[in-house]
């Protein structure tokens, strides 16, 4: 392990990310109009009590990864205004990546609506959750940012957030405990009802969702209820033995991160060539090395539920408790 390299990266990422977040609510320079463009064709309402909260994760996971690869090249210049301005134009997702992300987010919105929940979206105004600060152990910085984030949502009268990825969910759970982030939030699997899917996959668990948030079993219950079958191998998909995609290390050690992704993809392919994920970072990491689908690419709404007929319920955490917020799905006024 190269200690000096680690120190340099930590210093650089802290300076870059903290500065960007506190000023612009995003960790890296990015094209926010492009990132929110998925919602335009659907005419998703702007704002509202209940918000679909992407935290730019599906749209920008490849961008975050690119920053990881480029950091050593741009070094301390990364925090300069010149490079930051350039970054948003140069480091952007490919058309193919944006198309895929748009499709995933559109489907998420449709599934949520079909479950009887009217959700709006903040478009380019949407803030990032601060998940990267948590991954990096920048806990004081995250607490500062978390307070800012809480004010942001309070100022807009947000009553509920529907989160689409595990890292945002984990970060908000942390902020709830540490800074009293009291805007209720739920993951989409706790909101979506009646979704249908098909096919047989091997599930690559999100480390954050299945282990750190204790959702290993309830996630499988959700997936199987859709009609999708899962191939299991205790050594590859076991709760203790399932491995990481390497994504969280991309900004510190890109090669290690890629080696982990390759290794994980090979393990998964030995169980089933069709890999299922439910996290944008896992999707971005594993896709180059296997046939990977996100859960939001393989489930579809069965039928549009009538307003007021949502089966709003509570998925149990594996530990026996309720979901982090214990919020029943809000029913639309009939």
């Amino acid at each position: 392990m190269d200690e000096d390299k680690i120190k340099d990266r930590v210093r650089l990422i802290r300076s870059l990310v903290t500065r960007n977040l506190m000023r612009d609510y995003v960790p890296f320079p990015m094209d926010r109009k492009l990132a929110s463009s998925w919602a335009l064709p659907l005419d998703v309402p702007r704002g509202g009590d209940t918000l679909i909260y992407t935290s730019y994760m599906y749209q920008m996971s490849s961008v975050f990864k690119s920053y990881g690869r480029l950091l050593p090249k741009i070094g301390s210049l990364a925090s300069s205004s010149l490079v930051q301005g350039l970054g948003a134009r140069v480091i952007k997702p490919s058309d193919e990546e944006m198309k895929r992300a748009s499709s995933i987010l559109s489907n998420a919105y449709s599934l949520i609506r079909a479950s009887g929940v009217e959700a709006g979206y903040l478009y380019e105004e949407e803030p990032y959750s601060g998940a990267l600060l948590l991954e990096m152990g920048f806990l004081d910085e995250l607490k500062d940012y978390g307070k800012k984030l809480l004010s942001f949502f309070r100022d807009r009268g947000t009553k509920r957030l529907i989160v689409l990825d595990p890292h945002t969910l984990f970060t908000l759970t942390y902020l709830k405990r540490e800074v009293g982030f009291d805007v209720p939030f739920q993951h989409y699997v706790d909101v979506v009802r009646g979704a249908k899917g098909e096919g047989n996959f091997v599930l690559h668990d999100s480390c954050v969702f299945s282990r750190l948030l204790d959702r290993y079993s309830s996630l499988r219950d959700f997936i199987r209820q859709t009609g999708i079958s899962l191939s299991e191998d205790e050594l590859v998909t076991g709760r203790a033995t399932g491995s990481c995609c390497g994504g969280p290390l991309a900004s510190l050690d890109y090669e290690l991160s890629e080696d982990m992704a390759k290794q994980r993809a090979e393990e998964l392919k030995r169980v089933n060539p069709r890999v299922l994920v439910m996290c944008p970072i896992c999707l971005s990491q594993l896709s180059p090395y296997a046939d990977v689908r996100d859960l939001l690419e393989v489930i579809r709404r069965e039928r549009k539920l009538e307003v007021g007929h949502s089966q709003g319920g509570r998925l149990k955490r594996d530990g026996g408790g309720e979901d982090p917020e214990g919020i029943p799905v809000r029913r639309r006024a009939g």
Binding site: M136, G137, S210, R211, L212, E234, P248, M260, Q263
Partner: protein, 376 residues
Amino acid sequence: MAVERILKEYPYVVELAERLRETKLKVIGDLEAYVERAMKSVERNGGHAYLAKTKDEARKIVTDVVREAPAKEEGKRKGGKRTVVLAKSNVAYEIGLREGLIKQGFEAWETDLGEFLVQLRKGWPVHLVLPSLDLTREEAGRLVHGIDKNVNEDSSIEQIVAAVRGFLFEKYLAADVGITGANAVSADTGSVVLVENEGNIRMDTVMPRTHVVVTGVEKVVPTLRDALDEAIVQSAYAGLYPPTYINVTTGPSSTADIESHRVSPATGPRDFHLVFLDDGRIAASKDENVREALLCIKCGRCYFACPVYRELGREWVGTGSPYNGPTGVVWNYITNGDPWPAFLCAHSGGCKEACPMKIDLPTIIRYVKSAGEKKL
């Protein structure tokens, strides 16, 4: 999967692990008092107990004991250097003991086969329980060729093991001092419990006239029963259950077979020394962010549950610490104040799932990262 099979076959081990966690949490809450009680128990049994604050202090205490230890051979009694046999001990690595003894001119040999191979290759252990995990049969054969010309890279594993056994047997016979670690130390009786499969610890603790134990203060448990539980749990979660041997040592050897008059020594050692090492542990026991790490029983199971360790192996923490993998990242921080390897933790969470003590390693490691970031 060996551990899962063991736990299925011997389900009481899981219950023991749960009970042990609660017991050790209680000890960590009042660590200094338990250490003091254990030291008094050792003294009561006719042994000598020490508490070393630092690595250097611990190494000096052990080196002085070795220097003053009674010698078996006439030549050594007149100022010759002592022969020392060592059982596998991570704390011995932590304080640089073997190298320190050799530098002082003592003859010192590791007797655990894996550690012996590490010594021959002048290397560093790759794992807590399986120090030569990365070595092939051919490589082991080439190394052992250095002490037995009949062995080479074409030798079978059985031939290699037999050659090492022959070599080490001469060392056991010549050894003046045996140095071991401890899986647990009971505060009530001052007993040291050690679990093993090779039989080398039996030899190390009985053949020499002086037995020195060097171990971390967190190995104290309230009772001998708790200490035996820890040995059982450690061996099961290390994937080696049932263990071939569990050794209990309570002071020097003694006998009361003649007129019920107890005398010491009998067949075993004449002198018994227990050196407790602090090296950051007591401070950690008072830090709510890391104290739970002291529950670690060093089974090494979290290593295999960690994708980063599986990629980096020894290189993750390096040779500045014998502790590696997820638990090692935290132990390296506790004992060396080094937070930097923690930044390569991906927080996969497998370590917490695999840990018999259910230590929340991902959360502790996140704190270690935070502590590191503050140093910049």
